[in-house]
């Protein structure tokens, strides 16, 4: 039904899709697999009309199709249900379902007709209990998912793309989702299904296409009988070799961080571990496994039950206390959460420790600049001009500036969330060396990365997370990527 051939999509500085093929048949559930950054999201957006491909052809039911805008895509019969649900919280269920194609006469919305039609669609989905008048913002996640699906159906979609639809759902809700998907496919609707959970794919999927680094590496694998090991090796077979610094030969020092029974409802539960001075501990897991949330909870930026002790003493809740007691966080979204892009490198470096440079609030700018210059030199931030705005630095150097922030005044614990995101290969190796060097100076490091090889290569010890619980803890040197991915995806402890 849908045939995509040689799709290429180029963004400034990155080839997100580099020749993707996809065949979807009517009435099948076609699963799309691939690691983070493999190009799944970009591919979906091409189908949804958000991005236009630079090369390649798309044919739908034998005719050339080129969705030039989201409206085009909808007219073609493509509907997309995004990972982050794109519903308007303040509007009612019916209004959301028919958003953009309201039942209207002469510009006046016919609300009764809208409600009637909404009720029909919801009944068809097996959810007559969702009232068309209810405000969407007050619905539970599962119900929102149904509303999203109802919207797709209201367009008479022939092809429905679902991006991790089960991520927000509890177990029995997933069963209901599958029932709806089966009904749809029985009517000849095709579903492109994206999920990280292999067991789901085995249950609902018909065929699998695997993407890696923007290319199709396997087309039309049978979803039920392809061995996990084959899928995983297709997803991971790498072109890029990472260069990791050697691990320290010295045994780690005293315990710096101790986390006891950390739990946050819906994110993670019963997480306990410790990090010693000079040790790098990595958290491996998928998006939604709770890895970043754990980091935030340790840092006091997220509410959680349980205890966090630094150097044997409990840390009072709140980021201000965490920073004062010697923690530093390099957050996941460097630009949105860490940097003041218009400010100088110096101002960014000293932001976390301003009082250390000031007397009665008066900043000693000479001392501030000298310290920033020293750290820029230590981490080899280029160009070495610390007065230029941080915006003008490359991603790797921006990340170094964030790291430098926490080297002022001697931190005891660094929390690194995706430290190499958006950093090119050469700069990665440098960052790895910097991080290892910091650990060798006696700082305890807790690392989160969505890239399993990075966690394994850089850490001394690894905790594997799945759906908010630690399923494995062990020496990083004896684990390999396959085993970790197996654990993450199959939910089997090693």
């Amino acid at each position: 039904m849908l045939v995509m051939r040689g799709i290429v999509k180029q963004f400034p500085g990155v080839r997100a899709l580099d020749g993707v093929d996809l065949d979807v048949r009517a009435g099948e559930v076609h699963c799309l697999l691939g690691q983070n950054g493999a190009g799944k999201s970009t591919l979906i957006k091409v189908l949804a009309g958000v991005h236009q491909p630079d090369e390649g052809t798309i044919t739908f039911n034998g005719a050339e199709a080129r969705p030039g805008s989201p409206i085009d895509a909808i007219r073609l019969g493509f509907a997309t249900i995004y990972q982050e649900l794109d519903l308007v919280d303040g509007l009612s269920v019916a209004e959301n379902i028919f958003l953009g194609h309201e039942h209207a006469r002469l510009g006046f919305v016919d609300r009764a007709a809208g409600r009637r039609a909404a009720r029909e669609v919801l009944e068809r989905l097996g959810h007559p209990e969702i009232r068309p008048n209810a405000e969407v913002g007050r619905l539970p996640p599962a119900a929102k998912q149904v509303v999203s699906m109802a919207r797709a159906l209201s367009h008479d979609a022939r092809l429905i793309i679902m991006d991790e639809p089960s991520a927000a759902l509890a177990h029995d809700e997933v069963a209901n989702l599958f029932r709806i998907i089966r009904e749809l496919t029985a009517q000849g609707v095709a579903v492109v299904y994206i999920s990280h959970r292999l067991e789901e794919i085995r249950e609902i999927g018909d065929r699998v296409t695997v993407l890696k680094d923007g290319r199709t590496v396997a087309v039309g694998l049978p979803a039920r009988d392809t061995p996990t090991s084959r899928v995983v090796s297709l997803m991971t077979g790498r072109d890029v070799e990472y260069v990791f610094p050697p691990r320290s030969s010295r045994p780690p020092g005293e315990e710096v961080l101790r986390v006891e029974g950390l739990s946050a409802p819906g994110a993670f539960s019963g997480v306990s571990f410790s990090v010693r001075a000079g040790e790098i501990v990595g958290l491996a897991g998928l998006v939604g496994s709770g890895r970043s949330e754990i980091l935030e909870a340790v840092y006091g930026a997220r509410r959680a039950a349980g205890r966090v002790l630094l150097g044997g003493r409990p840390v009072r809740r709140g980021v201000t206390h965490a920073v004062r007691s010697g923690m530093g966080l390099a957050p996941e979204e460097r630009k949105a959460q860490a940097l003041l892009l218009d400010q100088s490198v110096t101002a960014n470096i000293t932001l976390g420790s301003l009082p250390g440079f000031a007397r009665f609030g008066w900043i000693d700018r000479g001392r501030e600049r000298a310290e920033a210059a020293r750290l820029a030199d230590l981490l080899d931030i280029r160009p070495p001009d610390t007065e230029r705005p941080v915006r003008t630095l490359s991603g790797g150097n921006q990340q170094k500036a964030v790291l430098a922030r926490w080297l002022v005044g001697g931190r005891r614990l660094l929390l690194l969330d995706e430290p190499t995101r958006g950093v090119d290969v050469g700069a990665r190796a440098e960052l790895y060396a910097v991080i290892r060097d910091l650990a060798d100076r006696g700082i305890a490091v807790l690392l989160v990365s969505s890239e399993v090889p990075e966690v394994l290569g850089l850490s001394d010890r690894v905790l594997v997370l799945r759906e908010g619980t630690v399923i494995h803890e062990g020496d990083a040197a004896v684990l390999d990527e396959h085993r970790v991915l197996d654990m993450i995806m199959e939910g089997r402890a090693a």
Partner: protein, 345 residues
């Protein structure tokens, strides 16, 4: 989508970075001479002065006219300094005019006046700071949107001022409390004291914004509150202090307006919030926060005051004056947006 950059692009980036570095050096060199980014404002100001010299050569360049321009600018000027802090910090304070009126009324009640001029001044400052603190608490800890919290304060402070004064204008008692009025009548080097007060507030504001941790944090909180929070800055406390600072400036402005008009009144400072905000915006401060300067705000204010002055000197319609001011705001912001685009990488 993350943006892994291939090595080739990085080399090109490095070359661009060198050019950038050269430009930055040039800029920091010029900074000693005068803020380059305020060049446009200086030009606008010079144009207005030229217009004044051409249209009213007799009246414009006189000492008395310039002094009256500065005296007029002083009251709103002090408020503008506070507003600059709030707006750089990512907020907005609509209550400034009303808070100033309340402070002037509170300081001129018979009860307060009986304690003498010093207590009057302290009273004005405390009332202003207190009202600002209420704004700050509502916004930082009550999680009210700044626009709404300060709008409520605008209405309520005016109402309270009317109630306290019984809608009557309260005179500053002379000669007992003449010291207040002398801020406007006593001149040093031909310039009234209240202009010096204004200048002092500007200098202090500049120092606090550019040389202290408070100022640095203001930019951080306005520019990227999440980054500020994760860097360990107490964003809520800082936000609260910003509104308290704005209130403090309103209190000082209340003293100046009592000096200039010899009265305290609930009608003082009507629409001052608009003038102050307009001056800040013309001065290049982003309403979204994180970027801006005291210098720019003061230049913006002087431009506004000069326009008023020119219209009065030439006997032109005040309605036309408002239209001109509206146009200037739009033009200034459009020009700045172009500058921003050029500077973006």
């Amino acid at each position: 989508m993350s943006e892994p950059t291939p090595p080739v692009r990085q080399a090109a980036g490095a070359r661009g970075a060198q050019a950038d570095a050269a430009r930055t050096n040039l800029l920091s060199g010029l900074r000693g001479v005068g803020e380059l980014r305020h060049l446009g404002l200086f030009v606008a100001l010079a144009l207005l002065v030229a217009v004044g010299l051409v249209t009213r050569p007799d009246a414009f360049a006189t000492a008395s006219n310039l002094v009256s321009v500065l005296s007029l600018a002083a009251t709103i000027g002090v408020i503008t300094v506070g507003a600059t802090f709030v707006i750089i910090g990512g907020g907005i304070d609509l209550s400034v005019g009303a808070v100033m009126a309340l402070a002037s009324v509170w300081a001129t009640t018979l009860a307060t006046q009986s304690y003498g001029p010093v207590v009057m001044a302290v009273c004005a400052v405390l009332v202003g700071t207190g009202a600002g603190l209420v704004n700050g608490l509502l916004i930082a800890y009550g999680r009210l949107v700044p626009f709404i919290a300060t709008l409520a304060m605008l209405v309520a402070a005016r109402g309270l001022a009317q109630r306290m004064s019984d809608r009557k204008t309260q005179l500053v008692q002379q000669p007992d409390n003449g010291a207040i009025v002398s801020l406007s009548t006593t001149r040093v080097l031909g310039i009234p004291l209240l202009v010096y007060v204004f200048a002092l507030v500007v200098v202090l504001g500049w120092v606090v914004l550019n040389r202290t941790t408070f100022g640095r944090r203001t930019y951080a909180v306005g520019g990227n509150p999440e980054a500020a929070r994760l860097a360990g800055i107490d964003v809520r406390r800082h936000t609260m202090l910003l509104y308290a600072l704005s209130g403090l400036c309103c209190g000082i402005a209340a003293i100046l307006i009592m000096a200039r008009t010899t009265t305290g009144s609930s009608t003082h400072g009507d629409l001052y919030e608009l003038d102050a905000i307009a001056a800040v915006i013309i001065g290049g401060t982003l309403l979204t926060g994180g970027r801006g300067t005291i210098m720019g705000s003061i230049l913006g204010l002087l431009i506004f005051t000069l326009i008023t002055n020119l219209f009065i000197l030439n006997g032109l319609n005040t309605s036309d004056q408002l239209i001109a001011k509206g146009l200037i705001i739009v033009v200034a912001v459009l020009l700045q947006r172009r500058n921003l685009k050029e500077r973006a990488p």
